[in-house]
């Protein structure tokens, strides 16, 4: 009974338990724990080299933690990696591959790896505003367009957990606004979202929790009640500066 209760508590949740990462002599991430519920958005903030990408890479399964465990919907990453990655979507910070492919071919490639239908590809292309560019080669796209394409790749299969490394880099104000709206929609669908950013206004708009990472440690965690976004943005900026100095 106790086991069942424990499992049901984990179901639909993301659990990071005392996860750490060490590269030779450098401790990139000190034991870090986090729990998330369906529809929740956690934003990681901090300076360059703080450890945000290390957390995201561990969550995405591209970096093995030195210690600790990650559990998604009751699936422990270390024990069943294939089942774990089937439930996630990952948007990397930098991606320079497959430039010769067209926008549609690029998405078709990733869609077929997750058995996503052709209709969904066209739907996503419309959603990210690349309908007119769908026959163009990826290498011909601007930085912002490429970011949108990477985002589309990550949400193609409606994953349980969406992980994004600085997704607003290169986006113009219009698309930052569109990004905020999209994240709100995905949250309403019950998707768990974790991403890193240096833009405090974006964090205040969509983040339910904002975690400040400093030198591989969780420095502060702030809960956003969503009532006073401008006020919360100012508060975040203050915390950002104090964590940076």
């Amino acid at each position: 009974m106790e086991v069942e209760e424990k499992e049901s508590k984990l179901d639909g949740n993301l659990v990071m338990e005392a996860v750490s990462k060490q590269y030779k002599k450098k401790q990139a991430l000190h034991p870090f724990s986090m729990r998330m519920r369906a529809g929740e958005c956690v934003v990681l903030c901090g300076g360059n080299g703080a450890g945000k990408s290390t957390i995201l890479n561990i969550l995405a399964g591209t970096s093995k933690p030195t210690a600790g465990k990650v559990i998604l919907n009751g699936i422990e990453m270390e024990k069943d990696k294939m089942a774990y990655v089937a439930d996630i979507g990952y948007m990397p910070d930098e991606f320079l591959a497959q430039g010769e492919m067209s926008v549609r071919e690029f998405l078709w490639f990733y869609a077929s790896l997750r058995m996503v239908s052709e209709d969904k590809i066209d739907q996503i292309i419309m959603q990210i505003g690349l309908d007119e560019k769908k026959q163009e080669q990826v290498k011909a796209l601007s930085k912002g367009m490429r970011q949108r394409l990477l985002l589309a790749q990550a949400i193609l299969s409606d994953p349980e957990l969406l992980i994004m490394d600085e997704p607003t880099n290169g986006l113009d104000p219009f698309w930052i606004n569109e990004f905020i709206e999209l994240v709100q929609i995905l949250k309403e669908k019950g998707m768990m979202i974790v991403f890193s950013t240096h833009m405090m206004d974006v964090a205040a708009e969509v983040g339910d929790r904002i975690m400040f990472i400093h030198e591989g440690k969780l420095a502060e965690s702030l809960v956003n009640d969503g009532k006073d976004i401008p006020g919360f943005t100012r508060r975040l900026l203050k915390h950002y500066r104090s964590n940076e100095s």
Binding site: M82, V85, E100, M101
Partner: protein
């Protein structure tokens, strides 16, 4: 696997370098045919056929090793490997998809150049035996397949294209350039009765030597290898040769594929 296969084919055939290599093959094969054609007709294993085979043995393996190793190392560098690690993709599908896609792309380019050159030769009045054309063609395709597999295997162990280039040139140097010297040096230290069996075993270890043996035997010149090979030559002259090639190819690709998949799985886990 088919998704990776298709992507590899598209990515390779859309690069300008792919067409530069096609032109290179066309030029090299046409020049070799012209050289061979000075005799008026082309058939059997002549000294000029030997020259053609040697040139093929020099350039095809080197290019295939580089193509194969760059195919994986490039993805390690540009971030695609990391992204693919976040997908439920089996490493066996990744390796064999890459091998299939690369082989299709390289075989198409080579075949176009090869048959165009043969056609040019025939148009200019050369008499080329069909057996000669087919044996040389199969020999080239086998070289492409085996050395692409070795290239992909090397790619699974490196992280950058510079490393891939170094490993590829190193592999080419051992398997093509200094193989005979290496064999002579090693066998000179062995007792005489062991030399024959070691030489025969060595032929199966190096795919370049195996394919060369196949070509020479199929052109009815197996006797040039000497008495030590008399027991093997009939295997390559009769119908059973296709079974031998299939079994050998299967073993080589399964061995290299198995090791590469093991390494890629380890890299994915870390």
């Amino acid at each position: 696997m088919w998704t990776i296969w298709r992507s590899e084919w598209k990515t390779t055939t859309r690069q300008k370098s792919y067409y530069a290599i096609l032109i290179l093959w066309l030029l090299v094969i046409s020049l070799l045919i012209i050289l061979e054609g000075t005799n008026g007709s082309i058939s059997g294993y002549t000294n000029i056929t030997g020259t053609i085979v040697n040139i093929m043995l020099y350039i095809l393996p080197l290019f295939m090793l580089i193509y194969g190793s760059f195919s994986i190392a490039g993805e390690m560098e540009n971030g695609q490997w990391s992204l693919l690690c976040t997908y439920p993709l089996e490493m066996s599908s990744y390796f064999f998809g890459k091998l299939g896609g690369q082989f299709t792309a390289q075989a198409v380019s080579y075949s176009l150049a090869y048959w165009l050159s043969m056609l040019l030769g025939l148009i200019t009045g050369l008499s080329i035996s069909l057996n000669w054309m087919l044996v040389l063609y199969i020999f080239s395709l086998l070289l492409i397949l085996f050395f692409l597999s070795i290239g992909l295997f090397l790619g699974a162990f490196v992280s950058t294209r510079w490393q891939a280039l170094t490993y590829s040139v190193g592999g080419w140097f051992v398997l093509i350039m200094i193989w005979p010297t290496l064999l002579i040096a090693m066998t000179s230290a062995l007792p005489y009765p062991m030399i024959g069996p070691v030489m025969k075993t060595a032929m199966f270890i190096n795919p370049a030597e195996f394919t060369r043996f196949f070509l020479v035997a199929k052109l009815n010149a197996g006797s040039i290898f000497g008495q030590a090979y008399d027991s093997i030559v009939p295997l390559f002259e009769q119908g059973i040769v296709w079974g031998v090639i299939f079994l050998y190819g299967f073993t080589v690709i399964a061995f290299l594929g198995g090791l590469s998949i093991w390494k890629l799985k380890r890299r994915r886990a870390n």
